[in-house]
Symmetry: C2
Subunit: 141 residues, 2 copies
DNA sequence: CTCCTTTTTGATAACGAATATCAATATAGT
DNA sequence: ACTATATTGATATTCGTTATCAAAAAGGAG
């Protein structure tokens, strides 16, 4: 059974890239996080384990993770975040505009109507991004 | 009947701000555009009519247009664009990942299910952003 | 292991979009 | 016309991200 490290290794091999300790560490740290992770958070945790790792390597590796299909990049609120993405069903996001809390949800019918809209305009759907902005229960008080 | 200039004037007056020639010009240019406009495009057209206008004023004014509800800011592909937004129904976007062509569409049922999802998680929906990425008819050839 | 080639690394410079600063200018109200 | 306040344009600054580059590391071949 393939795990994320195997997928990453395969991707790297495919492009004659190397599975280095730095790349392994960054992937490890990334996988320990959940939800949407800002690169600064990853940076802090990576440096806890290896203070010599440079910020450039982190950016380069995150890019590789995106290209290999393990992570997805988002730019919701001017801050780039990365999200784990492996065998995960399509899902959308609900974001609180007050506290930035993020909830993931999915709605099969929405998917269906997205396809419908694409067909109407002769587009081949490749991916989608739906984000709902609102105020969560706690912040409404 | 209120037009955009009146709305802008009202907004400015409300905050003790002034309806200056620069602001009027930028709004004029913005309104002549259609769809999603990059700030550089607006800059070029504004400078055609008044080469003395500074970039800072342009950014400041675009921010005011957003705050006054006349424009909406998007950050689709790392490039910030502004979209005219006046008495416009909710709509979503369909973007070609090859040529960047953008199509607007709306789908009432999608809206309905968005609300549904919000209720499920005790969120009060404030706005949404749905973007479908695909390949348009021309680019499929 | 040793040699050689290619990739990777970390430090740092560079970039670019957006914002802050500030003195000079324009505006609105008296 | 006068005064107080807002606005402007030029420019410096910020900050996230990317490019550069010499040194280090990794993978093969012998």
């Amino acid at each position: 059974m393939l795990d994320e490290h195997d997928i990453f290794k395969d991707y790297l091999k495919q492009y004659n890239l190397r599975y280095t300790p730095q790349r392994k560490l960054i992937l490890d740290v990334f996988l320990q996080q959940s939800g949407h992770v800002h690169i600064d958070d990853i940076h802090i945790r990576v440096r806890d384990q290896d203070p010599t790792i440079g910020i450039a390597t982190l950016y380069r590796t995150m890019k590789l993770l995106v290209e290999s299909g393990l992570a997805e990049m988002h730019t919701f609120n001017e801050k780039t975040t990365y999200e784990r993405l492996f065998q995960v069903r399509h899902h959308d996001h609900l974001i609180c505009i007050v506290c930035d809390k993020t909830v993931e949800f999915e709605h099969p019918l929405i998917e269906k109507y997205q396809l419908e809209a694409c067909e109407r305009y002769d587009f081949t759907l490749k991916s989608h991004r739906m984000t709902l902005f609102g105020i969560c229960k706690e912040c409404q008080k």
